[in-house]
Symmetry: C2
Subunit: 430 residues, 2 copies
Amino acid sequence: MDQVKVGLVGLGTIGAGVAQILLERGRAFGPKVGVELLLARVAELDRAKIRKAKVPAKLVAKNADEIIDDPDIQIVIELIGGIHPAREIILSALKKGKHVVTANKALLAAHGDTIFKTARKAGRCISFEASVGGGIPVIGALRDGLAANGIQTIFGIVNGTTNYILTQMTQADKTYADALGEAQEKGYAEADPTADVSGADSTHKLAILARIGFGMRIDYHKIYREGIDKIHLEDLQDALKLGYVLKLLAIGKRQGSQLELRVHPTLLPMDHPLAMVNGVYNAIGISGDWVGSTMFYGRGAGREPTTSAVVADVIDVALGRAPITFSKRGCFSSKPKMARLMDITKIKTRYFLRINVIDRPGVLAKISGVLGRNEISIASVVQPEWRHGKLVPLVMMTHTAMSGHVRRAMRQIDCLDVVKGKSRLIRVEG
Amino acid sequence: MDQVKVGLVGLGTIGAGVAQILLERGRAFGPKVGVELLLARVAELDRAKIRKAKVPAKLVAKNADEIIDDPDIQIVIELIGGIHPAREIILSALKKGKHVVTANKALLAAHGDTIFKTARKAGRCISFEASVGGGIPVIGALRDGLAANGIQTIFGIVNGTTNYILTQMTQADKTYADALGEAQEKGYAEADPTADVSGADSTHKLAILARIGFGMRIDYHKIYREGIDKIHLEDLQDALKLGYVLKLLAIGKRQGSQLELRVHPTLLPMDHPLAMVNGVYNAIGISGDWVGSTMFYGRGAGREPTTSAVVADVIDVALGRAPITFSKRGCFSSKPKMARLMDITKIKTRYFLRINVIDRPGVLAKISGVLGRNEISIASVVQPEWRHGKLVPLVMMTHTAMSGHVRRAMRQIDCLDVVKGKSRLIRVEG
């Protein structure tokens, strides 16, 4: 039985899980997967984390360099996260002839090109199944299982923190602030939740999926992004009455030679497969020209599922499959051209609108007039309890309309004398 | 760019799809997947199918042997289905040094051991992603994506024909016979639907998934099996009122050193992820000790999705990954021991019961007495419209009970003088 020695950098939540499974099960993997995995060295600067992870003292390296310089180690697992020093560790490991496994989506989204190039030059590979969808093997499915297809759409809930918050708002009528507080208490959200609630984390993941699925380089800064931090409970409740559920979606669609890439709160009909994905679960819908619609569902974050994905990658590398994949697949090569992203104002969806109006004769005519002049037609209106002279919320669903037209219409509507405050809009899909 | 020559045996529905995609896209795959696929030879005895598939005449071989004997062909795709001559073609192709790709679940379930052994001896591989779940890359996910896990349960809708029939019964109140007729008209069911409606096809697929997931050899004849051909519309309607949906499930669970493997109509709560899988769609839930619950969803049969899976396998073989997988993984080796299957009478689930009773004083007491003596407790009763002296259906849900106990109780109940006809029972999961 072949043995492969593995070095691990970072003993945080995921790193401790990976250390545990490799120590407990690394040799026992042999008969099942065809290779024994030996955790040879571990680097972690925080002594408390080392104690907590119960890694034998003899495995603890002074620093990451000691792992990278160890000629016996064939695979380096990077699980410290963030850009620095993760980037330097990965590049240096590749240059020293190690294969690399990582879950670092922020780094891959920002520096994927440099990392892929360094790996190619070194004749080594980098695997990152754990960077998207936690334990869901979605990168493998998209890259290998659906390889025969021209990928048409990628449509996913790829952030467990925001899905937990939105589920709490929907099911328990909590405000955004309360739901966020609860998520933080339970460890589902960071003390600073910005990366999750702003949608930044979802754009990193969309950039990774889009590169693999559409075979183009992606400048993730250009992905249109709205977070969930501006979501009002009342909008969510009104949408629910209309049969719609709110999700933070990462959406990628091929539109001719362009790509439509966007991350934003999205209303989905209740019977949509993604509408039923609740709590910290993730699900990614992928459609291809031959396979049709597929969906991949599972726990999107957390120690156990992410560890599952990291170790699957280590096995794939140790067996020699991942190096083939990495060296052969176009998406990892220097070939992909930079994707041209469709202007968000040109994107067409349906819309949920909330406009606070003063109940006066002709108010609905005024608003529908503005919408009509902007080529937006109304699919349904939730009749408010009209109270003459009072402020009432007018909730509408539009038919498919162009984003730019809707924004212009809303600016015009917000200038009407019968409208108070800033109107709100949420895109609708499915 | 490497080129790999492929021979195709069988130009039925799937074969024609595979021929089409290889002819249209085989060379274009190069930059994307890293290898060009050349359809070199096609064998099909039915001239009409050859014309329909629009395969150039120069590619048509006299017979399968001409493909197997062609030294330039590296991969043989077997898509004729059935046991003979598919078995002989596959064995002979392997012995002649070809890798094999197939979608033939019946053959793999019955003769997997012989085929795997022949492949190992020849130093070649056999890939069969398309044998389960149509276009859903579930074998890859189970074998590779979840490789780090001890697999605990496999829980799937793996037959599109029966799921279409049950969906029609549930959503359009069609009888079994009418729904089957419609499925046949639409081409979703064969003229002889036995393999699908009897659950045999699902047991083949469960046997394949269980071998990979649990790493044991499976005698698929020993898998407990009930089809959907005895399902009454009224049971399905009554269950729906209680909030349950009927699905034909393939269930595999690890129970200590034994496996619990069974295929039968199963009621699921409406909010269960599999309850929402309708029509010809398939979905397979897999849970592992690290990843938790996952689910894989997509079109479970038909030309396009199955072609997607076959071609993904061809790419995997052509890149040299599948040969590594096949030679290294324990589940394909000679090592797996034959699984000990749990006796169906020992399996515990909840039950839906329908008993036709004559409304007389004390009838409920008599029936609940029999259930109680057999250690079965009642969770809920749907009160029939009692009409003194008339036959009324008594519908009940039990708490978890042992299958053997429930069967014995039902035999006793059916002997009661207040009970007419044979009572019916359906297992409940989730």
